[in-house]
Symmetry: C2
Subunit: 358 residues, 2 copies
């Protein structure tokens, strides 16, 4: 994984970037639906400033498609097991396609039954969890998404990798604008932050990562595992990771974090069998869509007007992402040098037109 | 609120404590169902070591019943609005009765529809969120519970009370034993911890509470508000509080934290209009009950065997609570002096037999 790019290094316009992703994924063996879903998810990351889950993952997914870890022509199967619940069998697709499909099934069930919950299995890394929560909010539903991933985060007082960075995301529709959007890893920091500190020579913050014995470390090069969110109250972060693990893996038949093949290889030929979990709640089946819209509008106005500490700024979850999206749509997406180099290689291998002028 | 009691100060056997709670609640005007639900919720807290949400709340609930804030003879009404969703109208009951009832309705819908989600409104403080999640797990379902409460926690970089300590709880059934149980406040610490530091003269930990200007403070007497979970990453704690706020209040028609009358009064006559949200997921509608049982058993074995840091101890969420329950069932529940004094007063006023020998 690469550190986040210094801003403004190489700016690429989103339409060219999206076209490049699609072409490269198709050339690597993804069918049209898989390529479309994958590019939508990485473009979500790159547009909203979540660069760790943006187009820098494209070479990774290409490696999975070429190696056989990812099935480029998956036959998804949705097994509806009750009025409001079912399992999406991912046929080892790249994670975006089955997760978007599960979000749509959850919304369709929510229209009928008030709620729709879909467990996903035989999937793979799905990128930014928020992308799927937004999709549900775009359908007028409250969306929740949970995932797990290969073990990289210790337990509270633990000294071994146990959970993945297990994300939790939620989006709620807000009238006349972007949804309330919250997308968090249950680790104290993302691994990218460790790499960023390593490359800049700065020490890590307090109590966010541990050495091989589970002891806190400030030295990026000593990091063997991440700490769960919460510092001295890390049992909360570990518990939140457990929520995601139980919903995404235990309830669906997906692999536990500790049993998953490492995302980064070296094995790129064996499917990883990841699970995930999405939930859609229809406001019409609770307080009603109009009352919900009024309430969330009032909540957001109050939140954004809440006083800030001197030198600080109060924002609603998502506000930073929407501002970044608007800026990047105008000014382009910054590409880090390693990703740019990988893109040059992929362009040479596939004949896809580079999205930037070299 | 009182600091947590020094252990072993005055030990009361659970059966006597429960009988006392019931008698006092009935004498204060609670009908049989309300009294039973309320004592079950506070006994959950007191048995499992969650003393902040245990029997020390009894005098508080009595004050609400006597003042009229709480309706001692509520007529609950469950409005099923879809196959998997509905609203529980609490008729301003003490919070335990409508929340237990919502948990039962959610389970019943989950049997039919795979999932059951119930928004609760016109309720009041429900005590320990975990009590209701456990009830759902006892029915063989995965249970989630969200609540909000009057504003006492600032936003990330905020300088004003905005969210309550908004709890999130989840329980998942585990074969042959107690469920996996997770119950957290989304604030960095409970307010009780502030009071405990005040009474012992110890400074507060880093970045857990703020003064009137929103600045971190170590001085308990300067605390005007709590910080959201996460320290420098407090946007995560604030976002988790927002999840609970949206599910418990925005989606249900309950009051926003900032609009709620303070739990501690002085107004004990006006109903507070709290919301809450419970969700039940039937494993049979996902991977299947047997496969889920095998997976969670395997997960718990792995978790408990995960190596600990030197001097530390790894536990599954809930393990501390079950151990404490077993100990307290044998040895009794410790009562802090203020609660013991309030019990003497309540015994005198109501004629209920004191649960300890004075």
């Amino acid at each position: 994984m690469n550190p986040l790019p210094p801003p403004g290094l190489l700016n690429v316009m989103p339409d060219r970037l999206s076209t490049f992703c699609l072409a490269v994924l198709r050339a690597a063996g993804a069918d049209a639906a898989s390529a479309e879903a994958c590019q939508a998810s990485v473009m979500h990351g790159s547009l909203h400033g979540v660069d760790s889950h943006g187009v820098r993952l494209l070479p990774h997914y290409v490696e999975g498609l070429r190696g056989g870890r990812l099935n480029g022509a998956p036959r998804l199967r949705f097994e509806r097991r009750a009025a409001a619940a079912g399992i999406m069998h991912g046929d080892h697709a790249q994670g975006a396609l089955p997760t978007y499909a599960a979000a749509e099934e959850a919304c369709a069930m929510a229209v009928e039954a008030g709620v729709g919950a879909v467990g996903i299995r035989d999937s793979s890394h799905f990128g930014p969890a928020g992308a799927y929560a937004i999709r549900i909010a775009e359908r007028g539903k409250v969306g929740l998404v949970f995932g797990n991933s290969d073990a990289f985060v210790r337990l509270h007082e633990g000294a071994a990798r146990f959970h993945g960075t297990n994300p939790i995301a939620m989006a709620a529709p807000a009238p006349g604008g972007d949804p309330w959007l919250f997308d968090m890893a249950t680790s104290a920091i993302p691994f990218n932050r460790v790499l960023l500190c390593a490359s800049t020579g700065r020490p890590l913050p307090e109590a966010v990562a541990s050495d091989v014995a589970g002891r806190d470390t400030h030295a990026p090069e000593a990091v063997e595992m991440l700490a769960p969110l919460g510092g001295a109250f890390g049992y909360k972060g570990a518990g939140l990771a457990g929520m995601a693990e139980i919903l995404a893996a235990v309830l669906t038949g997906g692999g536990l974090s500790r049993d998953l093949l490492a995302m980064g290889g070296p094995d790129f030929s064996t499917p990883r069998g990841l699970g995930a979990f999405v939930l859609a709640l229809d406001p019409a089946a609770f307080v009603g869509a109009e009352a919900m819209a009024r309430a969330i509008a009032r909540y957001l106005v109050a939140l954004r007007a809440s006083p800030a500490v001197e030198g600080g700024r109060v924002m609603a979850p998502g506000d930073r992402e929407w501002a970044e999206r608007d800026r990047r749509n105008r000014q382009g997406v910054p590409l880090d040098p390693d990703t740019a180099a990988a893109f040059r290689r992929l362009a040479g291998e596939t004949g896809a037109a580079l999205p930037f002028d070299d």
